[in-house]
Symmetry: D2
Subunit: 308 residues, 4 copies
């Protein structure tokens, strides 16, 4: 958990073009479970290894992309405390009433980052009716399906002024920054940020258009399950972007691919145990390609595209 | 990092009967690197993926076993703050001067748990001369050797009154407790404790003799490397205890085996991402065997022995 | 394929005590598919990666155990040729008419080995209606289920006079013998025999009672899938015998476990590529334990039991 | 073993531009062992898991590429028999005296395929001084190094008239053809040929220039070791072509990459057990890309290049 009580990115809402086809992608191929549908037709999903009500929401829209993401914090008091810090940092905070548009979720506070992304914070959420066992627990109850995605892991956001966004995450949210990428004159190109011992909970890449998402990532057990995910992509004709490969950055094993609406997904496994006292790893921008795609050794051109 | 600034178990000193043979075991078979020897003949070692000066010390003695372990904290101020909390909890704190008997380590504070184990805390330690790359880092520089152990991971301690020890870890050190095991009348039999998102940084099992260690564990990449570790054990005639198998508790893949002095080692991979807001998993004592040795489905009799 | 046209063990019929429960074990847990039931109530099954009609038959009986196994040969002419060789070796041959008791199978010839086991040979069998794709084939069509067993792989038979059985397999069937185990005075204790580049198609252990089977084995992709199989055993409370472990003999990764009727199963992965020109590996009987259970380093007492 | 006594491709001699650098690639990165050097400066190598004297020879030359490959047969009599068959097929046979230019090898017979490639056959070769253990064997004696290549596995040759080459392999050498790729009007584009239960011992792609090699392949344990090979490529800046990925054809996991002289290498793991009675898998040429690069789903343009 981060210094200031941020636990993890626990919710992300995505815009999709073809709801039915896209739901089928996340359930049949990635192996997420549909939890419920909202009155306005959004679909709530979660990984088999998540306790909370849901972590992914799909909303039918005219274009694909990022609606917002929400970070879970450790208490209601933390929520109040962070509200003050956010406003002190200079971002306006708004309030979302409990369950108002996310079934199972308590009150949330929201704000817009300089990068154009809406983030929210919440402390309370109902436990999912289907969650991992608690008493004498098995490793799972129903065999994991498809790609065997365990849980929502992280997201990579594109937008302007990521230095400020990074500073916000550190100073306000109490997260730390295991890796960064800079231009020769020291400007941030990319930053990987965590509030936990995972190597990243979120990441930013500097981009001139605001509010873009590069990918949302789901966690797999290991490199073998990355291979299994690739098998499922191939059999199901899922459009692949890059991989199976490895990031030198975070060291995770990975595949980038596309959902049927054009949102980029990642399946991600491994990665080092990130500690706040470890030296920050630094990438020169001309080595960024190798850092991102360690096996390819260079930037895959599609990396910079945020939609197909 | 835990709420109160505890980062990880960063140092453990073990007593060994045959120093040369035991050093060879940790270097040639586990793949740790020897860092230095102290003036009084102790040998300092570390995993290839650790930044700090060393994490394991072997000391020649008349019997094998646990000398002490030390947790790294995030700052000198935390050290001062924790000293007061420890004394308030009722444990007497002593002081170890910088580098006095651990090369590279700054000042440490120490105390004895009710379970009979000496624990220490420190904030400062020199970076090892051979550490993971920081600028445009490779995943490793020299290929990992032998079992490919990455780093010291955790330890399981045996002693009396583990309920108090658990309470100390939570109230004073700010750690949390992802899993516990209780008797039918609610007494703690075992407890798994973490200050991070690893499922355990340390664990205790209730035992009538104080100050015993069940095992010290080293981290591997995945189940495949657990198999590789078993290969190296077989070829090198390392004495195996249990495994390759899986813990239902923490979900990690594991092998228990013995160093040449009779200290139990573990190689450990995987395990879930532990979050403080997840429900605490609870084991009934009659299910503990299955919880520890999920594939065997029962307690392996040697589990309770702390030496061969 | 062996020198004399033997392709592989393609069929095994087992006696079971509780047909429904045992079918469920092979389908739900091992992941085999039920193909059909015979008029007399036997159940025919196959792995998802097998082309032929079926490979495993379960027959309700008063005791568990081995009925017979059948080897597929490359042509009807081979069948005639082998019939003469078998009779010349001294075993009486009988004839089973096409489809008489194995749906989809052409004519078979049968005989009894000195070890007490009935073996059969056949050249013709119908293709299964559900088989791997042939035109622009996917790696599979429906995701493999449960333990993801691909196909029947081999069997280990117990009985008297295995030297003669081995000589029969070599001289008559044209197979070869990658590994053997001998007593200090040169008597065969165990022999591993193949007609292919798999390290064994069948194996024999010397035993005073005739006609016993130690285990029938199913093939998995790799060590990771051996771990997955162990997960499924644990969750489903399947009774495990030994493993996950590795054989030094054949080098395969393995778990032994029991079906609900008390027949021992094996899941097996890997193993070296066996070539007839490689030197025969030889095991001293006092090293047999290590050869069989390389990680345990010794004979697991239950190895000699043929039923629970 | 094939019907006519062909055991495996046991020897391949390659032309290289920079001998020292290329030897270092095969030893330090792939993990092969240098066996000896010939009087004329060629370097002989083998995998740790091969029994025979050597399997790969590197010869300094003005251009990279294929010198010749040799198949091992089961006996001297087979050599005589095959000589007659080859001549009857219409290829002229020449003779190479024992040890004349391959240390440790007995007499060889040679001929040129219609595709422009010189193939040789031999029955006798000395056992390597360092070979896998035979008496109570360990799985290996020295830990496998670098990419952990076990042995030379197969080669893919490019040249004209591969239909004839395929017919030669079947009719004369007694091999079989698990998979083929055809144009819509039924012309062979590619063919995968084996004399064993490996899915291919050699393969041909139709190409207008004679005598070209696409790649020589070395065998790895599994997908995990394919990942390890990719790690070693990345750390050592080995030039990668495609992968880690999977072939739908043969189902093997794979990486294509380049030695420092511009010869393409493959590391290959898995693949199905090929049986001569299985239906031949057939690929339409417009699906060949997906067949070769199942995860990419399309032909990687560099596939058709035989040199960088």
């Amino acid at each position: 958990m981060g210094l200031n009580g941020v636990i993890r990115p626990g919710l992300i809402q995505m815009k999709v073009l073809d709801l039915d086809k896209t739901v089928k992608h996340y359930t049949d191929v990635l192996g997420l479970n549909e939890v419920c549908r909202t009155e306005d037709g959004r679909v709530c999903l979660k990984g088999y290894d998540e306790f909370d009500h849901h972590s992914l929401v799909l909303r039918q829209a005219d274009e694909a992309g990022f609606d917002y993401a929400a970070l879970k914090v450790d208490s209601d008091a933390t929520l109040d405390c962070l509200e003050k810090k956010i406003e002190a940092f200079g971002y306006k905070v708004d309030h979302v009433l409990p369950e108002s548009n996310q079934p199972g979720f308590g009150r949330r506070i929201g704000f817009r980052l300089c990068t154009g992304h809406r983030l929210e914070l919440y402390a309370d959420v109902k436990q999912a009716s289907q969650h991992p066992e608690i008493l004498n627990p098995n490793i799972w109850t129903t065999p994991p399906r498809g790609m065997r995605c365990q849980r929502f892991d992280h997201m990579l956001l594109y937008g302007p002024n990521i230095s400020e966004a990074e500073r916000f995450c550190v100073e306000v949210l109490g997260m730390f920054v295991p890796e960064v990428c800079n231009t020769p004159d020291g400007k941030r190109v990319a930053t990987w940020i965590t509030g936990s011992n995972k190597p990243h909970d979120l990441a930013f890449v500097e981009f001139d258009q605001p509010g873009k998402i590069h990918h949302l990532a789901f966690f797999l057990q290991d490199w073998h399950d990355v291979g299994n995910a690739a098998d499922h992509m191939a059999v199901n004709h899922v459009k692949r972007d890059v991989g199976p490969t490895r990031h030198a950055i975070t060291r995770g094993h990975t595949i980038y691919f596309w959902d049927p609406s054009g949102n980029r997904n990642e399946v991600y496994a491994g990665g080092y145990t990130a500690y706040p006292d470890n030296p920050q790893r630094v990438w020169d921008v001309e080595q960024l390609g190798r850092g991102l795609f360690y096996y390819e050794g260079e930037l895959i051109p599609s990396f910079l595209s945020v939609f197909t």
